[in-house]
Amino acid sequence: MTVTNNAPSGPSPDVAGAGTDVEVAVDLITVVVDGVEMRVPKGTLAIRAAEQLGIEVPRFCDHPLLDPVAACRACLIEVEGMPKPQPACAQVLSDGMEVRTQYSSEVARVAQEGVMEFLLLNHPLDCPVCDKGGECPLQNQAMSVGRPESRFTGAKREFEKPINVSAQVLLDRERCVSCARCTRFAEQIAGDPMIELLERGAKQQVGTAADEPFDSYFSGNTVQICPVGALTSASYRFRSRPFDLVSVPTACEHCASGCSLRTDYRRGVVTRRLAWDDPDVNEEWNCDKGRFAFAYLNQGRIESPMIREHGSLRVASWPEAIDAAARGLATARGSVGVLVGGRSTVEDAYAYSRFARTALATDHIDFRARQGSAEEAAFLSSKVAGAPVSAAYDDLESAPAVLLVSLEPEDESPIVFLRLRKAARAGTQVLSVGATATRSLGKMSGRLVSARPGDEANALRSLDDETRALLGQPGAVILVGERIAGSVGAASAVLELARETGAALAWVPRRSGERGALDAGALAGLLPGGRPLTDEQARRDVAAAWGVEAADLPSEPGLIGADLLEAARDGRLSALVVGGVELADFADPGLAVAAVENADFVVSLENHHSAVTELADVVLPVAVVTEKSGTFVNWEGRPRPFGQVFRDALTMSDARVLAMVAEAMGSSLPADVASIRKEMGALGPWTGARTPAPDTAPGASADGVVIASWRQLLDSGLMQEGEPHLAATARPTVAIVSASMAAALGETVTISGPAGSVTLPVVTGDVLDRVVWVPTNSPGCHIHADLGAVPGTPVQLSAGGAA
C-alpha cells in the first residue's frame, strides 16, 4: 500500500540515499565565491553556486528550469580574469574560477545598481494598483540593490493597457522588463510558442499573433514566473494583496498528475492557487485547470442534510438525516451498491471500502464513474492496486522510450505531458498507440503507432521489431490511460508487452482519486492494499484490522461497472450509496440514471447539487478539498497529502459522515484522517498472491466510421464551473478527421450515434481514415449523452448541418 502515515509533503527521505550515489558519479570542481571555497558539480552556473552559499544575486530572466538567456543583466558579477562583469546566470563555472558578487566586489555592485536603475527607467510607478505589489522581485531587488533615487526625469514609455493575451492572461506591457521568462516558458516548457517578444529597443513588448491568443493549457505559469506585474490573471486581478492572503500548501484535486499547489485565501474564500515547487513531481509548473478552476469550491454547495419526504427533498438536521440513512441502509444490508467518486481522497475511499464490507456487508463497490470493464478491473487488481512505484516522473525523464497507450497526456495528465516533453527534448522517444497524431504528440516529437479505436490490442500485439527494441531498452516505460478500459483485450496486450520487453508499466488515470481508491480497495473483489477478496489470508488480515470476524466479510466478489448499475436498475440491489459521482460520466448515463431511480433507497454524499441528489432519498453534504485534510495518490503511486485550508469549516469529510452512519447502524469506522492513515499503514501492502491477470483476446474495431475521443483538459467538467475566463481558453469543440474525409464533408459534419446526433465544425488533422475524433465532454458534444457513444462506437457522418 502506498498511503501510510501522515508523511510530510516534499522530497521523500529515500532521495537522500540516492543523492549520495550520485555525488560519487558527478565531477566536482573547486570554485571560490566571495572568498568562500566550495565544491560544485561541473557545469554549475555561478548564480546557483552563490545560492548554495545563501548569496542572492539579483535576477529577473534567470529561472532554474529555463535555459539561461542573460538578457536582463541584473546578475552581473565580477569573474577573476575577465575584463568585463559577467552575468552570473549564464557563467558556467570552471575549476579554480573565482567569482565575486555584489557583496565583495565594487564592480559587481555598481554594475547591478546601474542595471537596476535602467530597469526602473521605463517601469511605471503604479505599484499601488499592481497585483504584484508586495511579492514583486522588481520591488524587492530595487530595494536591495538599487539606487535610493532615480536620476531619470524624462517621460516613461507608455502602452495601451491591459491587453488580453488570452481570456485568462492579461498583459500590461509598460511593466514588462523583457526578461523573456514567459516566452521561454511557452517555447521550452509548454511547447506553445504563442507569445513572443515583438518590436525592438525600448518598444520591445510581449505579444501574440492577432488571430491566435495564448490559449495554452499552461498559460498560468507565465503569470506566476513573471518577475513583475506585467502578466496577471483575469481571475485574480485586483482581488487581493499578497499580505492579505493566508497560504496553505495543498495538492491538486483535478487530476492524477499530483501537483503540489499553494492555495491562497482571504476571509474564507480561495483567491488564487499557485504551482508549488516539487522537483519530483510538477517541478514548478501546473496546468491552468489546477490553477484557475477553484470557483466551484464556493458555488452551488449543498448546505445542509436533506431527506426525501412525500416525494420531495426537505432540509433536515444532521441526526435526523443520519438516522434516516442508517435505517434505510440497514434494511437493505447485503443488497447495497456503493459508487465512489473518482476524486475521493484515499482516506475517504478507504472509508467507503470499509463501510461497504462491514456496515453494508456487501462487495458491490466500484470507483470508476466512467467507462470501465471487467478486464480493466482485473488488470488494476492484479498489477496496480497497492503495488510499489513502477515508474515515476524521474523515470520518464531518463527513459529511452515511452509508449503511451490510450493516453493523451496533455489533456488527461498535463504534468506527465510536461515531463515527457522535457524528456523528449533530451532525446526520449515517445510513441503513442492511437488513432490520431495530436498536437501534443508533435510537441513531444513523438511517433504515432496507428490503431483504430478498439484495435489497440491488435496494434500492441503486432508492434514492429524496431518499436519492440526501443521498449526493450533498460528504463523504457509504458503508460496506460484510463481509456484502456474501452478497448477489448488492450489491457491484456499491454501486460504481455511489458512482460516481453521488460518495460516498466504504469497506469495513468485521469482523476485524482482513482489510484487512491484502487489502493483503498474501493473495487469489488479487492480489499485495501491490493488484497484479493477471495484470499483467505487477506480477508483475515483485513478483518483483524477492522475488528470484525473474517467470516463476516463478504467472500464473493461483488458487482462492478455496468453490472452493478444494471442490478440496481433491475431491482436486484435495493439500495445505493453514491459518493461524489456524476451520472453523466458513465458510458451509459441513461443506465446510471435508471439505476439511481429504481433503487429503493439512495444515500448521496455530495458537496454540490447533482443528478444523484435530485433522486436521492437522503442527501448528506460533505466537505470539498479545502475543508478537509486527506491524501491523493497520483499515477506514480506517490501520496500527495494535503492539509485543511479552512480550519474552521463546519462541513465533514465523507469518512466522518460514513462513520456517523456506521455508528447509527451499530458498526464502527475510524472517522478522522489520522486514525484512517494509521489503520491503513498498519495494514500495509499485500505481499501474497495477487488476483490473476486478465487474458482477454484482442477485440476488433467496428466497421465503418468509428469515434475516437477523450476528455479535453478544459471541458464541461463540473469542477471548472464559475470560471468563465478559463473556459474561454478551452479548445474549440470540433470534429477532427483526415484530409480526405474533410474534403468530402465540408465545413461542418453531423455525427449520428445510437442515441442522437451532434453537429460540429470539421477540422483536418492527422487522424486515421474512417475515424472521427470528437471531445468526450465538451460544450456542444457530450458523446455519452448526446450520441450514446464511447470511443470505438460506429457512427454515421453526414456533411453539413447547423453547427
Binding site: 542573460a70 546601474g114 523583457s178 525592438r200
Partner: protein, 434 residues
Amino acid sequence: MPLTPVITEHWDDPELFTISGYRRHGGYRALESALTRDPDALISLVKDSGLRGRGGAGFPTGLKWSFVPQNDGKPHYLVVNADESEPGACKDIPIMLANPHALVEGVIITSYAIRAKHAFIYIRGEVPEAIRRVANAVREAREAGYLGTDIRGTGFDLDVVVHAGAGAYICGEETALLDSLEGFRGQPRLKPPFPAVAGLYASPTVINNVETICNIPYIVDRGVDWFRQFGTEKSPGFKVFAVSGHVNRPGIYEAPLGITMRELLDYAGGMRDGHQVKFWLPGGSSVPMLTADHLDIPMTYEDMAAAGTMLGTGTPMIFDETVSVVKAVTRWLEFYKHESCGKCTPCREGTYWITGTLEKFEHGHGTEQEVETLVELCGQIMGRSFCALGDAAATPYPAALKYFRDEFVAATTTSADDQFDPVASYVFAGAVAR
C-alpha cells in the same frame, strides 16, 4: 604612402561585375589554384598572411577558420556578413556592386578551406542593387561550373544562397545574423557556444565580412609575401577606406594599412575650402572620435587602439568646424536607440535615456549635472550589455565629451542650432549660411 588598388583595381571597367569582365582581369584563377591545394594548407596560408577581419573587430581570419572542428560529422557553413549598416560605413556595398565576383570567388575558396557545402551571403535588405548584382554573380558562377556539385572535378560541392536581410542593424552582429538567417527574430545569442562550434543550425559556422572574403582570392593568387609587403607586422595588407564627410572628393581609396588620415585626406582632395578638421572617426560611428591632432597616426588596428579609438570598418568620417558635436552625437545615439534589439536592459533602456537627454541638450535644455550623469550612464552600458551594440552606443558621448566638453555645457542653455548654424555644414551647392 601610395594607394594600392587591389579589390578596386579594375573598378573603371564597366563590365567588371560580369563573370567575363572579372575573368578578363584574372578572375577565378585563384580558385583553380586553390582547388588543387589541401584545405588545411589554405587555412594556414590565410593564417600566415595575417589577414584580419575587415568588419570592425579585426579578428585574425585564419585563426577563426582554424576554430572550426574538422571531421566532426556535422555540416559546416560559411556566412558572409554583408549587412553593412554602420553609420558612415560604405565599403562592402560598393565592393558588391562593382566587384561581386571577387566575393563569390572568395566564398568558394573559403568554403573549400573550411569544408562547407553551403554558404550564405547575408546582404542588407535596403540595397536591392547589391543583392541583384551578387545574386547574378552567383548565378553566373554556377553556370560556369564554379558552384554546384563536383566543382571542377574535385568532388567538392558548394551551394551559395544570397539572403536579403530585413533591415536591422543588429543583424550585423554575427549571432543575431545567424538567428535572422534561421528565420528567427534577429537577436544576439549567448556565447559560448561560439559560432565556430555551434553557429548556423547549431553547426560549425564561419562568419566573415565581405571585404575579408574579397581579400582571399588575391592572397591565394599572389601569396603571403605579396600580401605582407603592405601594412605593418600586426596589420598586414591593404584596406578599402571609404572617406566621407566634409572633404572635397569623398570616395573609396584602397591603401595599405598604416596610411595616415592626413594622407587619405590629401587623396580625398583635402577639407572643403576654407574649413578645417574639427573631429573625425576612423571607422564608423561606433568608434571613439579623434581630432585634428590625430591626423598623423597610422591607420592600423594597433595604432588606432593606442590612440584610444579603433580602426573599426576603416571608413573615416571627417567633420569640419561647422558641425555641432552635440548634434552629431545625438544623431548617432538616435540611431542606436532605434536599432537596439531590446534583448538586454543596458542597451535597451540606456539608449532610451541617453538619447532623450541628448535631445534636450540639442534644444538647449538640461543641466550641467546631466552632462556628467550621461558619462556615468555610458559607463553603465559599456561592457555590461549583451553584445557590442551596447558598447557602440556608449562610445560616442564620452569620446566627444573628452574633446568638446564646453560645447555640451553650452548646450544646456543654447541649442545646437544656435551654437552652429546647420546650413553652414551643408555640403550641397546653394546652401547659404545665416
